[in-house]
């Protein structure tokens, strides 16, 4: 009888010693290709779509200005670095302060990225542009998403 006793089978355990290494690799990949988000957008902005877009190159030389409506609000606000701007002088001061904190090389090619909601009235946008001209920030970029050329 005992001759037919089944040989007990065991599934060999999976060796997971290399799993941490794999995950660390993925982690380092993400650490390199991403950058930390400095500001949390408080205003809702759906940027328009365009075909003639250029990529902004150096992250350290970009100043972001968000324009849009806060959630559940009807008034359009301008957001600078986790707070709202009350008037255009504040925008000017902010851009000037950002520029003075940059390195000399970044200052040369400082770009102001305007992340503006589609439905913003042009009055606010041109006021901001006027403020930027006053402080000498001439290089701007209207943030947008890519659209296929033939869909125009």
């Amino acid at each position: 009888m005992s001759r037919f006793r089944r040989h007990q089978r065991k599934v060999p355990g999976l060796n997971t010693a290399a799993l941490p290494d794999l995950i660390f690799t993925v982690l380092f990949f993400f650490m390199i290709v991403t950058h930390m988000r400095k500001v949390t957008p408080m205003v809702q902005h759906v940027v328009p779509a365009g075909t003639e877009l250029q990529q902004l190159k150096k992250k350290s030389s970009i100043v972001y200005i968000y324009i849009g409506k806060p959630k559940g609000d009807t008034q359009t606000r301008i957001q600078l670095d986790n707070r709202y701007a009350e008037d255009m002088e504040e925008v000017e001061r902010y851009v000037a302060a950002e520029r003075s904190s940059m390195s000399a090389e970044d200052r040369q090619q400082m770009t102001v990225a305007l992340k503006v909601d589609k439905d913003t009235p042009m009055g606010i946008v041109s006021d901001v542009k006027q403020a930027l001209r006053k402080v000498g920030a001439y290089r701007i970029s209207y943030a947008a998403v890519e659209r296929r050329r033939d869909k125009m």
Binding site: T16, A17, L19, P20, I23, F24, V26, L27, F30, M31, V33, T34, H35, M36, R37, P48, G50, T51, E52, L53, Q54, Q55, L56, K57, K59, I62, Q109, T111, A113, L114, V116, D117, K118, D119, T120, P121, M122, G123, V125, S126, D127, K129, Q130, L132, R133, K134, G136, A137, Y138, R139, I140, S141, Y142, A143, A144, V145, E146, M152
Partner: protein, 190 residues
């Protein structure tokens, strides 16, 4: 008899290292953003009002293409309504047929209550029109597409078709020489 007992260093239990690194990975995934910033690059004109008013008086009426974005979102081109999708072609014919190319001016005016989306699309169409013209010229002159030209050739093409866009801003007029959208950050100033 006195055989030493073989000692073994107990191995470290590393089962949870994977969990720890997963936590780190998820932290980085949440806090960082991978989106590349894209946008329509423009060069604003410096503020010197007197000088620019003079500059504009030199421009003859026939060299000006007037674009006006009304509050309700319609686009007026030389006082007549123009659908947005025809704007690019309109600008191409205007700039392309101009006998004195370096003298043309596109005057862009937006009402204060016009929507930003229309304004952006107008800007995009104008840049696309310039891009189309430069591309045509590149094929004619160098026999290749614009993006395959050398930086010097691209600069020459930018000089050939300079972007001359004047924006009317709060009743002050300023000639904006816009930076080129055709290539890198070297401004396409005429």
């Amino acid at each position: 008899m006195f055989k030493r007992k073989k000692r073994q260093v107990p191995s470290l239990n590393t089962t949870s290292t994977a969990d720890i690194s997963f936590m780190l990975l998820i932290l980085f995934l949440v806090t960082s953003s991978m989106d590349v910033d894209k946008g329509l690059s423009r060069q604003l004109p410096p503020i010197t009002p007197e000088e620019q008013r003079e500059e504009l008086t030199d421009v003859e009426e026939r060299n000006v293409l007037q674009l006006h974005i009304m509050g309700d979102g319609t686009l007026m081109c030389n006082q007549t309504p123009l659908p947005l999708r025809q704007l690019q072609q309109r600008v191409v014919t205007f700039v392309g047929s101009e006998a004195e190319r370096p003298k043309h001016v596109i005057q862009l005016e937006a009402d204060r209550d016009a929507s930003y989306e229309v304004y952006f699309e107008v800007q995009d169409a104008i840049v696309a029109a310039y891009h189309q013209l430069r591309d045509q010229q590149a094929r004619r002159q160098y026999g290749k597409r614009l993006q395959h030209c050398s930086p010097e050739q691209q600069q020459a093409l930018r000089d050939y078709y300079p972007q001359r866009i004047a924006e009317v801003n709060n009743s002050t007029m300023a000639t904006a020489r816009q930076s080129s959208a055709a290539s890198s950050e070297k401004g396409g100033r005429p």
